[in-house]
Point group: C2
Chain length 403, copies 2
DNA sequence: GTAATAAGTCAAGACAATTGACTTAATAAG
DNA sequence: CTTATTAAGTCAATTGTCTTGACTTATTAC
């Protein structure tokens, strides 16, 4: 009678969607190219000078862009470049890791203004939530002390934690943070902060960070191979983070190394967890990061052995990523100590032959990314900023225009 | 002085982009849900009744949709459903394979109206081009004989051939159609037919076909694992075919099976090419398809051995695809004989544990797709239709609105 | 000093979605 | 059988946003 299966359709768009898109395109252009004149923007975006003028005026009113000194370049009226105003927007980024949680406040151009961290008590979410909310509140108030009106310009809170999310058979895998996985984190954070909250896995956050201020800046197709406690890939496809059906795309750590089905996942061989095991050290040791950095610098034998073994697997991972995603470049990043990452990169080369070997390449196939303990938190913060200001298909649709 | 590096920016949009998007959204909704009333469309797309009415009127004038018998469903004025008109648009699909080329004419809803094939002479593009252009011309004129005004409603020619495209080191790989790779195929086809021409690899074409009329219908995230002469994956991500930087995304056939770097690519073990080699048969034999189908049905020992071996690799490939892309489902399709594909599917199960194992799954992790020698040509034709009528980000941008 | 060039503004116009009142056509209820 | 209710769909005016073409401003080239 009433055939009640729901009708599936994509959302339409309207004038506001058009306008929202064009605003985002301007911001994106300024982010990629630096300050530009309205005439340049008009040419680059294919919009008319008039439209660009109107949008820039509006963005200036909103405090997102500002004019700079006029520049003369040949004949004609000098142009007035407009650039992004760093203080135009802020976001809080939160990294929840095994033994520690970090929070940062980041501005529109990706500068970290405030950073703070706390140890996470072993009790899981029940006790951890308090610590996290306090940390976020602290960062938020420090930000408010540095810049005025920061609360008004806060676009959201981005959280990052190790994935995968919501997987059925994960209970018996000691590498995962099971209790956190089951916890209604988004709701708790949202209720506890009153902010829009987004969640991504740590590799995705690293990719988001690289896209905003790192090696993937301005690229539309880039994959970040993130070596942390686990290992994952953050996917920038078509200029946007790709999340997959359940936000688990890129979980390369769970990829099996051999086709026979009896092998171990990549994560057990090329990750900090595997290094800690190899070295028989306690992952909870707060000085571990520095100690491993020292050891790596000194050319420690045990570390060397792990690096050589991991490099084999990473080389294969990069080959696989190139083969499946055909990106412009692969970026190796991680929360690993810097010295370790550079040893890894050295040990990985030369890369395996792949479809990425083309005549006329300009970008290197593999680039080092950030190797900074704070990069995941930065990427977590970059998430809300990207959602708010970067051009994306979803942003033109009516069902995303409530704000 | 004049800093002449080009300014990179995304294109803006305007009213026409809005309108184009909304038209596409309507068509997409009708394709996924079947005929719908204007009121239903308005609710589903979040547009107003009035807007929907205007767009539908325009689409009806353009011959893309038509009204059906009014239906009463409870109180209120009966609704008038509108459905896609199959004859609203056509496309030609062309498959270029090693020893044969196939062409089809397909309508708006993906029905194949005309099909024809020719053997490809071994001389490569120099002699093959003539054969192909004749084939296309034949299909085109047969289409014109069946439906009126077909030429006016022809949106383009889609070509599909084995990838990868434009790769540097490919010269020494006997599995590739090297001469065709180097040939300016798009230009030649475009000049020879006067049509808009698109090119994708055969796995991408298979995925496009599955999306239009097969197991991926209405899905936003699906991966087609295509077993043909080679093996590749066609990627539907965010509701659109993902091509990567150079159209080579998904070339899983080139993935190495072991991390040690000395192993063979997947293609050498799980593809029809590997089967032919295993059986020591001539790939150019025109009756091969039927013969292998017979052998598979009879439970031939040699085929069984290959199936068992290939299934191991395919099981791993599916695991890998699930791990990296997090799709709603994986579809196994191919130009392989149907009996062979069903034996493969039987031998592949059960699947390896992966992030795809979730509570609340509704779709199977692995589904059989089309196993039809014509499915690649169909997918090739579906390409231009999708580009012309499906909602996509690129379609709203000013730089895509010249047509 | 004048012409050429380019940036940017102004005001009117065009386009497409929105709004709110209205019409039409059916069923449910009394 | 009549009337109220509900839902589909239309009409006409309005709104929001980009476009158009003429104009102004500021600079360099000749």
């Amino acid at each position: 009678m009433n055939d009640s299966r729901p009708i599936r359709a994509k959302s339409g768009t309207n004038h506001e969607g058009t306008s929202a898109h064009n605003r985002r395109v301007m911001i994106d252009a300024l982010r990629i190219n630096g300050a530009l004149s309205r005439a340049d923007l008009a040419r680059a975006t294919r919009l008319t000078k008039q439209t660009v003028s109107n949008i820039i005026e509006e963005l200036e009113r909103d405090g997102l862009v500002s004019s700079q000194e006029a520049v003369r370049k040949g004949r004609g009226q000098p142009s007035t470049p407009y650039g992004l105003v760093p203080e135009g927007a802020f976001a809080i980024g939160l990294q929840i890791d095994r033994h520690v949680t970090r929070a940062v406040a980041v501005d529109l151009v990706g500068s970290v203004l405030v950073r703070d961290e706390s140890g996470l008590p072993p009790g899981g979410p029940s006790s951890g939530t308090r610590v996290i909310l306090d940390l976020v509140a602290g960062v938020r108030s420090k930000l408010a002390g540095i810049v005025q009106q920061s609360e008004k310009r806060l676009v959201g809170l981005g959280a990052a934690m190790p994935g995968p999310f919501g997987v059925a058979g994960s209970g018996d895998d000691p590498w995962m943070m099971e209790a956190w996985q089951k916890f209604p984190l988004l709701e708790t954070l949202s209720a506890g902060t009153g902010l829009d909250v987004g969640l991504q896995n740590d590799a995705a956050a690293a990719a988001t960070a690289e896209r905003m201020v790192g090696a993937a800046h301005g690229l539309d197709h880039a994959v970040c191979l993130f070596v942390g406690y686990g290992i994952g890939a953050g996917l920038i496809l078509n200029g946007d983070l790709y999340r997959g059906t359940n936000g688990n795309a890129g979980e390369i750590g769970m990829a099996l190394l051999f086709a026979d089905g009896k092998s171990t996942p990549l994560e057990h061989r090329a990750s900090l967890a595997s290094l800690y095991q190899h070295l028989s050290v306690d992952p909870a040791d707060p000085h571990l990061h520095a100690r491993i950095n020292d050891l790596a610098l000194k050319g420690d034998q045990s570390i060397h052995a792990w690096v050589e073994a991991a490099a084999v697997d990473l080389r294969w991972s990069i080959h696989l990523i190139e083969t499946l995603f055909d990106p412009q470049t692969v970026i190796l990043c991680g929360s690993a100590p810097e010295a370790l990452v550079s040893r890894l990169i050295a040990a990985i080369g030369p890369l395996l032959p792949s479809i990425a070997e083309r005549r006329g390449r300009t970008l290197p196939r593999l680039q080092p990314g950030m190797a900074d303990p704070w990069s995941v938190a930065l990427g977590a913060a970059a998430g809300p900023i990207s959602r708010a200001f970067d051009p994306r298909f979803a942003a033109i649709l009516k069902d995303s225009l409530q704000s």
